[in-house]
C-alpha cells in the first residue's frame, strides 16, 4: 500500500536539478515579445491612441490598440466549468483590449516586438488621450446613489446580492435578557504572489491556435480562448507544463486570449507574453477585500438567540469569479455556529480597483477573519472562556447541510482543538498571560474554520482518467486534474499503484497537460484534486485490472475470480503462486499473433458528493505596544482532512497555507492612492510577503477521521491551512492587550490606530 505513506514526490528529482521545464523554459527563442499598455487613469474612456512614435522603434513588429478590435467577443474569465444554462453562466464582461477603462491598469493596447527592449521602448512612446470619469475605491461608497457607475447593467455597482433567512431574526431578538454584540471586520486586498509570474505563448498550427500557459485549468482556458476569439473551441489547443505556483490567480483566464489574438493579428507567428511582477500584482487577480458587519444576540448562558451578517465584497472592476467568493463566505456563517435565527445579506460590488478573483480559501479566510474575531468578542462580552464558548456552539457531530448534503461525521473540531492546544501548551500559556501590564505583552488566541471539498452541487464535478499499459508492465496515468506544485501527481501515482497492484515506479504520471490529449477535466481549484481524482483513479484502475485479468485468464486458463495483481505480478489467489509478471503479460498482449490487444482503460466519474474539512489555528504573539508591532512566537494548525494519502506532503501543504495566513494577518496589503486609484506597492519589496525571518517554526498536526463519501477517505487540504491563521493571530493580540484589531493586517498602521483608539498610546502629532 502506498496510500498513507510519505513517499518522495515523483517530480522532486527534476525540480532539484532544474530539469523541470516551465513555460518560459519551453518557449522557442524565435518568439516575438508582447507587452501590454495599461491605463493610467482609474475610470474613463480612451479617446485616442497615437502609436506613430512607437512604431519607429527598430524591432517593433506591430502595435495593436483597443481600436483595432473589430469583432467584440466579450468573454468571462472565471475558471469555473461552463454552464449550458445561460442563467448560470459567468458574467462575460472582458475584451482582450478595451476603450472603456475601469481601473488603473486596464488593458488598452499591446506592442509586439522582436525583443523585450524594443517592446519596452515602444510602450513608453505611445501617447494616449483619455476622457476621465470620477472613480470610486470604497465598496460601500460604490453602492451609494450617484456613485460612479462601472457597468451600466449593474445599478449601484451591485454585481449580486444574496440573502439567507433562517427562522425569525426580528422576533428572536425580542427575547428578554439578551446581550447584543456588534462588530465590523475588514480584510485588505492581497495578491497570490506565486513566484513564477503569469506567462503564456501562442502560435498557429494550421488553422488552429496553440497556447502554452502557466495555468491551473487548461481545459477551461481552451473554452475561453475559443469564446474570446469567436472560434470553434476544437481549434484551440492548450498545453500546461509545470507551473511555478497558482493559488487561484491561475484559476482565471488571464492573458491567454490576448496573446492568442495578437498571434493571429500577425499571421500566426510565435508570440510570448511574459507579465512583469509589477503588472502581476495589478493586472491579474487579487483576493477580494471584504467588509463584514456582524450582530449577535447572546443569552447569558452562552448560547446564540439570533445572528446577522452583512458582507460587502470589493469585486474591483470586472466580474471574474464574482459573487461566488462572498457567497461562499456568507454561506459558512450559519453553519459554523448553528443558530435558529439568522439573517445574511451578501453584496458583491464593483469598484475601480484591480479585479478580484479566486485565491486560496475562496472567501473563507475573509469570512473566518470576521466570524472568528467576532466569536472572541462575544465570548469577552459575556465573560465566557473563548475555548469553552466555541466548544459549546460549534457545529455539532451529526450536523447535516441540506444543500450540499455534507455531514459532520466525527468530533473533529474538539479533536483538532485538543491536539493543537497540546502542541502549543495552550493551557499553561493562557493562564500565564492573563492580566499583563507593561509595554510588551504576550497573548495566545485561536480560530477554527470549516471548508468544503469540491463544488458539488453548485456546478459540474467530474473527473476523467486514462491508463495505458506498456510492454514492461508499467502504465501511463493521465488525468484531468493538474499538478500545480501541491504534489497532486504523487498522490495520484500512490492511489493508482494501490488500485492496480503495481509498484509505484511502474506508474508514469503524465504531468504536462495538453487539451488535445489529456482527458477532460476542469482541474485545480476548490481543494478538490485528491478527492475527485480518487474516484476516477479507482474506477479506471479497476477497469484496467479487469482487462489485464481477462487476458491473464487467456494465458493461464485460470478463472478470473482466482486471479489478482500483486506487486506487478499475476497471482493465483488460491495458493498465492506467482503465475507470470505483468510485464510478460503486457508484452504478450501487444505482440500476440493470435489475440493482440493494447490494454488501456479510460473512464469518467461524475462526483455527486462533497465533504466538510475541519481545522483550527492557535497562535502565540508578543506585542510591543509603543512600537505597534506584533511578533508571532508560535503557531500551530491542526486539520482533519480525512485520511492523508501522503503525510509529508500534507504537512508541507499546511506549512504553505499557514505562511499565507501569517502574511494575511500581519503584513500583507495592496494599497492605492486615494487621489488617482494608482496602486502604490505593487512589487515584492513594498508588498510585505512573509520571509524566512517572519515565521516561527510552523507546526502542522492532523486528526485523520476517514471521510466516508470519499474513494480513498480523503477530503480537502489545499486551501484550508490558510483559513484560520489570521484571526487566531488577531485573537492572540486581543488576549495580550485587550484591544480588538478588526482591520487586517495587524501591521504597524492598523495597530497604531487601534492602540490609539483604545488609549494605550497617545498620538502626539
Amino acid at each position: 500500500m502506498y496510500a498513507g505513506k510519505s513517499v518522495k514526490r515523483v517530480d522532486a528529482l527534476d525540480k532539484v536539478t532544474g530539469r523541470t521545464r516551465y513555460t518560459d523554459d519551453l518557449c522557442d527563442r524565435s518568439a516575438y515579445i508582447a507587452r501590454i499598455l495599461h491605463s493610467t487613469i482609474a475610470n474613463g474612456r480612451v479617446v485616442s491612441i497615437d502609436t506613430s512614435e512607437a512604431e519607429k522603434v527598430p524591432g517593433v513588429v506591430k502595435i495593436l490598440t483597443c481600436f483595432d478590435l473589430k469583432e467584440k467577443h466579450y468573454f468571462p474569465t472565471a475558471g469555473h466549468p461552463w454552464s449550458t444554462d445561460p442563467a448560470h453562466q459567468d458574467v462575460a464582461d472582458r475584451l482582450v483590449l478595451t476603450e472603456r477603462v475601469r481601473f488603473y491598469g486596464d488593458d488598452i493596447a499591446a506592442v509586439v516586438a522582436e525583443d523585450e527592449v524594443a517592446a519596452a521602448q515602444a510602450l513608453r512612446l505611445i501617447h494616449v488621450e483619455y476622457e476621465e470619469y470620477p472613480f470610486v475605491l470604497d465598496v460601500q461608497k460604490a453602492m451609494e446613489d450617484g456613485a460612479p457607475l462601472l457597468h451600466e447593467e449593474y445599478p449601484n455597482n451591485i454585481l449580486k446580492h444574496t440573502q439567507i433567512r433562517n427562522g425569525d431574526y426580528e422576533k428572536a431578538i425580542q427575547e428578554p435578557g439578551l446581550i447584543r454584540v456588534e462588530g465590523w471586520y475588514e480584510t485588505p486586498v492581497v495578491q497570490h504572489c506565486h513566484i513564477e509570474n503569469f506567462i503564456c505563448y501562442a502560435e498557429m498550427e494550421g488553422d488552429r491556435i496553440h497556447v502554452v500557459s502557466s495555468t491551473q485549468i487548461p481545459h477551461i482556458v481552451r473554452r475561453i480562448v475559443g469564446q474570446a476569439l469567436g472560434i470553434e473551441w476544437g481549434r484551440v489547443r492548450v498545453v500546461k507544463p509545470y507551473i511555478g505556483g497558482g493559488f487561484g490567480n491561475k484559476q482565471d483566464i488571464l492573458y491567454e486570449p490576448l496573446c492568442a489574438w495578437l498571434c493571429m493579428q500577425i499571421g500566426g507567428h510565435l508570440v510570448k507574453l511574459d507579465v512583469p511582477r509589477e503588472e502581476t500584482f495589478v493586472c491579474n487577480r487579487t483576493r477580494h477585500s471584504i467588509r463584514n458587519h456582524i450582530i449577535s444576540w447572546v443569552r447569558p448562558d452562552g448560547t446564540y438567540a439570533a445572528r446577522k451578517l452583512e458582507s460587502f465584497s470589493d469585486q474591483g472592476a470586472y466580474a471574474s469569479h464574482g459573487h461566488s467568493i462572498c457567497a461562499k463566505g456568507a454561506g459558512a456563517f450559519p453553519q459554523l455556529y448553528p443558530c435558529d435565527n439568522v439573517e445574511v445579506d451578501a453584496y458583491t460590488v464593483f469598484t475601480n480597483k484591480p479585479v478580484a478573483g479566486a485565491m486560496r480559501g475562496y472567501g473563507i479566510p475573509q469570512a473566518m477573519w470576521a466570524v472568528e474575531s467576532h466569536t472572541e468578542d462575544v465570548a469577552a462580552a459575556i465573560g465566557a472562556d473563548p475555548l469553552e464558548f466555541r466548544r459549546r456552539n460549534l457545529m455539532p457531530v451529526g450536523y447535516k447541510d441540506d444543500f450540499s448534503k455534507n455531514e459532520n461525521y466525527s468530533d473533529s473540531f474538539n479533536q483538532c482543538l485538543d491536539k493543537a492546544m497540546k502542541a502549543i501548551d495552550y493551557e499553561r500559556k493562557v493562564k500565564e498571560y492573563e492580566h499583563q501590564t507593561g509595554d510588551v505583552r504576550r497573548g495566545i488566541g485561536m480560530a477554527v474554520f470549516w471548508y468544503n471539498t469540491a463544488v458539488w452541487p453548485i456546478s459540474l464535478e467530474s473527473s476523467s482518467c486514462r491508463m495505458v499499459l506498456n510492454q514492461d508492465g508499467s502504465f501511463q496515468l493521465q488525468i484531468g486534474e493538474t499538478e500545480i506544485g501541491q504534489g497532486a501527481d504523487t498522490a495520484f501515482a500512490q492511489m493508482a499503484a494501490d488500485v492496480v497492484g503495481v509498484p509505484m515506479e511502474k506508474v508514469h504520471v503524465v504531468s504536462c497537460q495538453d487539451t488535445d490529449v489529456t482527458p477532460f477535466g476542469t482541474s485545480a481549484y476548490a481543494s478538490r484534486q485528491t478527492y475527485v481524482a480518487g474516484f476516477s483513479i479507482r474506477q479506471t484502475g479497476l477497469l484496467l485490472k479487469e482487462r489485464i485479468l481477462d487476458y491473464a485468464h487467456l494465458l493461464t486458463r485460470m478463472p478470473v475470480f482466482n486471479l489478482d495483481i500483486e506487486d506487478g505480478n499475476i497471482v493465483r489467489t488460491t495458493d498465492g503462486r506467482k503465475l507470470m509478471t505483468l510485464a510478460e503479460l503486457a508484452t504478450e498482449a501487444l505482440y500476440s499473433l493470435t489475440d493482440s490487444r493494447h490494454i488501456t482503460a479510460e473512464s469518467t466519474y461524475q462526483i455527486k458528493s462533497n465533504a466538510y474539512s475541519f481545522g483550527c489555528t492557535i497562535a502565540e504573539v508578543e506585542v510591543d505596544i509603543p512600537m505597534c508591532k506584533a511578533r508571532l512566537l508560535n503557531v500551530v494548525n491542526c486539520h482533519d482532512a480525512g485520511k492523508l494519502i501522503n503525510p509529508a506532503l500534507a504537512e508541507a501543504q499546511v506549512h504553505g497555507g499557514m505562511s499565507m495566513g501569517i502574511g494575511f494577518g500581519l503584513t500583507e496589503k495592496l494599497i492605492f492612492d486615494e487621489k488617482t486609484g494608482r496602486p502604490l506597492n505593487n512589487n515584492l519589496l513594498d508588498y510585505k510577503l512573509s520571509t524566512f525571518l517572519d515565521h516561527p517554526r510552523l507546526m502542522a498536526e492532523f486528526v485523520e477521521n476517514p471521510e466516508p463519501t470519499s474513494a480513498f477517505g480523503t477530503k480537502s487540504l489545499g486551501e484550508p491551512p490558510a483559513c484560520s491563521v489570521a484571526p487566531a493571530i488577531r485573537n492572540a493580540i486581543f488576549h495580550a492587550t485587550g484591544v480588538a484589531v478588526n482591520n487586517a493586517p495587524a501591521d504597524a498602521h492598523n495597530l497604531f490606530r487601534a492602540f490609539t483608539e483604545a488609549g494605550l498610546i497617545h498620538d502626539e502629532r
Binding site: R9, A12, K15, G244, R277, A652
Partner: protein, 169 residues
C-alpha cells in the same frame, strides 16, 4: 540607437565559455538565453525574490541585477553545476527531496544555491543565522519550514562528517 556588445569570457559550471553580450543584458539573460541554463528563474527581475540566484566566485548573487558584462573572468556556478558527471546529485539537493522542501519548484534552484554558499563555509550557523542568510528567497508554497530543515540537516551532517574525518586522522 546602436547596440553595444562586449565579449564575456568566464567559467560556467566548470567549463570555460565565451559569448558576446548586449552590455545592458543581465547575467540571468545570458545564462538562460545563451547557455540555456534554465534553472536560473525569473520571478521579479529586480532582485527581490531570489529565484535567479547563482554563485559568482563562490558568493551568492541575484543574477537578474548583475550585468552579464561583469561576469567576464568570473567563475559561475548554477544549479546545473551541482550534478556529477553521471547525474549524481549533491547532499543538499537530496535533502530538499527528503525533507519535502520542494513544491512548485520555482524558487528551489535559487534557494539551493544560497544553501550551497552557506554550507561551503563549513561552520555551524545558528537557526537565526540560517534564517537571515536564506531570507533573500521568497517562497509562497513551503512557508520556508522544510527548506530550513533541509539546510540545517545538511549542515549538521557535513559538520559531523568533517569532525569524523578529523578524528580519524
Amino acid at each position: 540607437m546602436n547596440k553595444q556588445y562586449k565579449l564575456v569570457r568566464c567559467t560556467i559550471n566548470g567549463k570555460e565559455r565565451e559569448t558576446m553580450v548586449d552590455v545592458r543584458a543581465s547575467l540571468t539573460d545570458m545564462l538562460r538565453n545563451d547557455f540555456r541554463l534554465t534553472s536560473v528563474k525569473k520571478g521579479c527581475e529586480v532582485g527581490e525574490c531570489g529565484a535567479c540566484n547563482v554563485l559568482i566566485n563562490g558568493e551568492c548573487f541575484n543574477s537578474c541585477i548583475y550585468l552579464a558584462a561583469w561576469a567576464d573572468g568570473k567563475e559561475i556556478l548554477t544549479l546545473e553545476g551541482l550534478e556529477g558527471p553521471n547525474g549524481e546529485i549533491s547532499d543538499i539537493q537530496q535533502a530538499f527531496i527528503d525533507e519535502a522542501a520542494v513544491q512548485c519548484g520555482f524558487c528551489t534552484p535559487g534557494a539551493i544555491m544560497s544553501a550551497v554558499e552557506i554550507l561551503n563555509e563549513g561552520r555551524e550557523l545558528s537557526d537565526e543565522e540560517i534564517r537571515i542568510r536564506m531570507s533573500g528567497h521568497l517562497c509562497r508554497c513551503t512557508g520556508y519550514e522544510n527548506i530550513f530543515r533541509a539546510v540545517k540537516k545538511t549542515m549538521l551532517k557535513r559538520l559531523a562528517a568533517a569532525s569524523g574525518n578529523r578524528q580519524g586522522e
